[in-house]
């Protein structure tokens, strides 16, 4: 207790003297970057989820050609979810004798569960949020419908057997993206009115939907239950099925963010370790003196521990506040760039994580040296060369290694990746150590052959062996982390930019009859559209695997069952599509054409447990076709081009009738040309994905923003390492340069010596860092981010030149102030 009190008093004196400054700074930045990233990541993923759910008007949506079982809705409400129902069908709407085919959506109270319906009093006016859904007896047609039939608010429309009053004009609704927009106008009505219309007859094509929304955990649990209970024709849609583009982009951004915050934390760990080392060096005398004056070892150990705890506490509080404020400011500053709202953080959990990280960093990187400090013998007061006894390697590096391992596992919770990661890091540090040792040795040889400035610098390298090696490790790790993140960031941003070029197809055309195929393409080309390849589309069902009927098979993944039970989109192709990569087997050559071969995507492979050579039997429009799996493709679903799980070789599908699909980019222009297209090719369905693309673009903007801002955090962490390194070498330099100058060396000579030393360290560290970063980037881009890797020579150049320059500059900074002082002041101040 007495020890605790006295320790706290000692601590307050240490504060005043600024001894703990760098330690505190390093730790604060570590906490700030961890919490900032965590807050940002959680907010952005919430924003993405929200935006995606708007497309569904719900968190999950169950669609079926048959009415949805009421039991599902009851179960959902019992599980604490909100529900609504919708039915959608095509019918002609009349005002007097003027009629127009419209997509009629009958919804129940509560619709939409996510997003909002906007309405106005006049067609094409600016919308305002609607108060609920149309009351019974009232409908809300959209502007185009009203314009076509010449109606207005207050007109009476007949739909089927019933008559309705136009209450408002529908301007927008969240789940419009799924309908045939650009072709068919829209009308919203109350579900209680649907029976009156008598539109629903046996055989009429109606899509029924149940909408569910609620707290994320409950939604996830219910989705699981639904997936297990879904009937064959039912289709479960959630965020991932609506916009795989957004999901995969955001997943990647999330993984990058985690990697970046890991890098920031590792950088801070380096800074913490270095400043702890400096703290120890500077306090050897003090602790020895305390012991001489009668302090016990327990007391001095307590002193260290309590000081660390206080530092951790302060760093946690200041760091989390800083992290929170920074991300809040970022979101605020960029509110113009972000198309939609970013919700406030859901919880303060990220702050707790920052706190844990601070304690972990201190325990791993600062506590061992500080405890070691408490072992310095009292005799040091008489013999300055006596330091603490050498620690056991395990005790000195064990905690640090354990903390790093824990942090890595936290970020990449996958054993194989984790092992790769940890092994890579260990190898990298080993390489740095080895290089450091070699440099030290070479410097020893070299010193006789150089001028006085270089000799002074190089001599230091070989004399302070441990210091030089530690510095190479610190600088090397720091430069490596920054380079690596730089490379990854470029890969990521580049990929996003590439995947969303300005002329990305914004229309999908489905159901193109084979005989009109060429005319259709010609028509589009004549209007300046850029089309992607035409693909045959037919529907078919997988009925057997290796002769066994799938109906009797069980699959490990519930998605397997869904796949086996549902009609699939099938196509054939001679060439492999852009964004597709064969990961097993091989793509067919002209010699294989006509063979019963099929290529499947990795998802299909995984969910159904398939392998190369398996025989798949399909039922396509009544025809049975058995084909062999020739290749497995990894498909980049976020490429916005038509892609298929199942692709046949040219030939086998020739006998089966199908339609074609394609996508095209149409510059924004008059709606007439589309209307004309619809008239000329009445069977073709047109999907307008402009809004979806806008959504995706806005999401990617957020992801890019997150990536950039995290990079900033990491840069700051890198600067902290530099600061710690500068600080740690300053004390000794102060004394040495004073002696050198007393002996007649000019300031320039001293500075040149320092530059020589640091440039040597920097160039070497930069070289190894560039190599390490390139190797690590290869693995991370291909294994973690799922992107193609391109070697970037700029990283090597930056590493080498940047390393040398930055490190030399830091050495210069460390020494400049020291050299400015008159030598006498320095020597006198040295007590």
């Amino acid at each position: 207790m007495r020890a605790a009190l006295l320790s706290m008093r000692m601590l307050s004196r240490e504060w005043r003297s600024g001894e703990l400054g760098v330690l505190l700074l390093a730790l604060t930045i570590a906490v700030a970057s961890l919490t900032g990233v965590a807050f940002l990541a959680s907010r952005i993923s919430a924003a993405v989820a929200m935006q995606a759910t708007h497309v569904l008007a719900a968190d999950i949506r169950l669609e079926s050609p048959q009415p949805i079982d009421a039991a599902d809705l009851v179960a959902a409400r019992r599980a604490g979810l909100r529900t609504a129902r919708a039915a959608s069908l095509l019918s002609v709407v009349f005002e007097g004798d003027r009629g127009q085919l419209a997509d009629i959506d009958a919804v129940t109270a509560g619709y939409p569960l996510r997003g909002e319906v906007t309405v106005a009093d006049r067609p094409f006016a600016k919308g305002r949020p609607a108060p609920g859904i149309p009351p019974p007896g009232e409908v809300w047609p959209d502007s185009r419908l009203l314009a076509t039939i010449g109606a207005h608010v207050g007109s009476r429309l007949s739909i089927g057997a019933a008559e309705f009053r136009v209450g408002r004009v529908l301007i927008s609704r969240p789940d419009a993206g799924g309908t045939f927009r650009g072709l068919v106008p829209n009308l919203l009505m109350n579900a209680v009115d649907l029976p009156r219309t008598a539109l629903i007859q046996p055989g009429s094509r109606v899509t029924y939907a149940a909408l569910f929304a609620g707290a994320p955990g409950r939604v996830a649990a219910f989705k699981h239950w639904l997936a297990a209970h879904a009937r064959p024709a039912e289709r479960l849609r959630d965020i991932s099925s609506t916009t795989p583009q957004i999901k995969s982009a955001v997943d990647r951004a999330g993984r990058f963010l985690s990697l970046a915050s890991l890098a920031a934390v590792l950088l801070c760990a380096t800074a913490v370790a270095m400043s702890a080392r400096r703290y120890v060096e500077r306090h050897l005398d003090t602790v020895a003196l305390l012991k001489t004056l009668g302090a016990t070892r327990r007391f001095t150990a307590w002193l260290a521990t309590l000081q660390l705890l206080a530092v951790a506490l302060l760093a946690t509080v200041v760091g989390s506040a800083l992290g929170y404020l920074t991300q809040a400011w970022l979101v605020y500053a960029l509110r113009g760039v972000l198309a939609s709202r970013v919700p406030p953080p859901a919880s303060l959990a990220p702050a707790g994580m920052g706190c844990l990280a601070a304690v972990a960093l201190l325990t791993g990187f600062a506590l061992p040296p500080l405890l070691q400090l408490s072992r310095v013998p009292a005799i040091r007061v008489l013999r300055r060369d006596i330091g603490p006894p050498r620690p056991l390697m395990l005790l000195a590096f064990g905690p640090a290694a354990a903390v790093v391992a824990l942090l890595i596992y936290w970020v990449v919770p996958d054993w194989r990746l984790f092992l790769g990661f940890a092994a890579g890091l260990a190898a990298f540090i080993a390489l740095l150590t080895l290089t450091g040792a070699l440099l030290v040795m070479a410097a020893g040889r070299l010193r006789a052959h150089t001028g006085v400035a270089w000799r002074y610098g190089i001599a230091r390298l070989s004399r302070r062996k441990a210091d030089s090696i530690v510095q190479i490790i610190a600088f090397g790790t720091g430069i490596m982390a920054l380079l690596l993140l730089g490379i990854l960031r470029n890969d990521l941003n580049g990929d996003w930019r590439r995947s969303l070029p300005a002329d990305l197809p914004n229309y999908f055309f489905v159901n193109i009859p084979p005989q009109k195929r060429d005319a259709f393409v010609a028509y589009l080309h004549a209007r300046g559209a850029k089309t992607s390849r035409m693909m045959l589309l037919m529907r078919g069902r997988l009925t057997g695997i290796d002769g066994r009927p799938v109906a009797q098979m069980r699959f490990a993944d519930h998605r397997g069952e869904q796949f086996a039970n549902r009609e699939q989109n099938l196509t054939w192709s001679a060439t492999i599509g852009a964004g597709n990569r064969v990961v097993a087997g091989r793509w067919w050559s002209p010699a294989d054409y006509g063979q019963p071969l099929v290529s499947i995507s990795t998802e299909f492979e995984k969910w159904l447990g398939l392998r190369i050579g398996d025989r798949l039997t399909f039922d396509i429009a009544g025809e049975t076709l058995t084909v062999r799996v020739a290749s497995i493709r990894k498909v980049k679903w976020d490429s916005f081009r038509p892609n298929f799980f199942i692709v046949f070789a040219p030939g086998p599908l020739d006998k089966v009738a199908g339609t074609y699909l394609t996508s095209a980019y149409l510059a924004p222009g008059p709606a007439e040309s589309l209307a004309e297209l619809a008239r000329r090719f009445p069977s073709v369905s047109i999907f307008d994905i402009d809004d979806l693309l806008a959504d995706v673009r806005s999401m990617l903007d957020k992801a890019v923003l997150a990536v950039q801002s995290v990079f900033v955090f990491t840069l700051i962490a890198g600067l902290t390492v530099l600061l710690a390194a500068v600080q740690s070498s300053r004390d000794e330099r102060r004394y040495e340069s004073a002696i050198l100058r007393t002996l007649g060396a000019s300031r320039r000579t001293v500075l040149k010596g320092v530059l020589a030393e640091f440039a040597a360290i920097g160039v070497l560290a930069g070289l190894i860092a560039a190599a390490g970063a390139s190797v690590a980037a290869y693995f991370l881009t291909t294994r973690v981010l799922d992107l193609p890797y391109a070697f970037s020579p700029w990283a090597c150049v930056t590493g080498l030149v940047g390393g040398g320059l930055v490190v030399a500059a830091s050495g210069w900074l460390a020494t400049r102030a020291v050299v400015r002082q008159p030598p006498l002041a320095t020597l006198r101040a040295d007590i």
Partner: protein, 232 residues
């Protein structure tokens, strides 16, 4: 004229007793004997100077006597307690309660003010009125006004005075001083020496003084010569 013997004056009780102290260390040239079979008895209240050429082993002997280091052979009795049989913390406790130190290079803690430096040993010993006692002792060394100054703001002589205050503030039974004037110019050194003996006289502390300074040594009741690790 001071005596030059290893025996304490017979009349007074002995406070510090060294028996056949030997200190050997490993060195690149093999085992090195720094202190060789030294026996010494110091009486309560006595002042003794250890003199000898640089490298004779004086500081090492002082460290052994104060329990800062353990001998390779022999033992040290401080007020009857065998320091060589205590562990590190046990010896620290003895130092906290019974021993004071003054060093050649002052050894003030740079992050503490003069007053705090003086308070430190009291605080370590759990003294209740550390502040008042420290202030009073600072007054005795003539630095009452400089209590809030940091060591680097003080001259060498002033720093050594703070060190003296720190050494005497706990009223130690034995004060060990290793070349207390070695880092000071002659005039300042003389003043510090003067102060040291004044304070020692006031507090009846036993003084073990290692010095090069003949004048300083001459003020002690007894002088022992040390050369190549042995007393002569």
């Amino acid at each position: 004229m001071p005596k030059t013997s290893a025996q304490a004056p017979a009349a007074r009780s002995s406070v510090l007793k060294a028996e056949h102290l030997t200190k050997q260390v490993e060195s690149p040239e093999g085992l090195l004997t720094i202190v060789h079979d030294v026996s010494l008895e110091i009486a309560s209240g006595e002042s003794i100077a250890v003199v000898g050429p640089s490298g004779a082993g004086k500081s090492t002997l002082l460290a052994l006597l104060a329990g800062l280091d353990l001998p390779s052979a022999g033992r040290v009795l401080l007020e009857g307690r065998d320091l060589t049989r205590l562990d590190e913390d046990g010896r620290a406790l003895v130092r906290a309660q019974r021993v004071g130190f003054v060093f050649q290079s002052f050894h003030l803690i740079p992050s503490l003010t003069a007053l705090e430096n003086v308070m430190l040993p009291l605080e370590l010993a759990g003294h209740a009125r550390a502040h008042e006692a420290a202030l009073e002792t600072l007054r005795q060394v003539g630095l009452k006004e400089r209590g809030r100054h940091y060591p680097r703001q003080l001259s060498g002589g002033e720093q050594q005075r703070v060190a003296l205050a720190r050494a005497f503030v706990t009223r130690p039974a034995v004060l060990f001083a290793d070349e207390p004037t070695g880092n000071l110019d002659a005039t300042t050194g003389a003043k510090i020496g003067q102060l040291l003996f004044e304070m020692n006289a006031c507090s009846h502390t036993t003084l073990v003084l290692v010095t090069h300074d003949r004048d300083l040594a001459a003020r002690c009741e007894r002088i022992v010569h040390m050369d190549a690790g042995q007393l002569r």
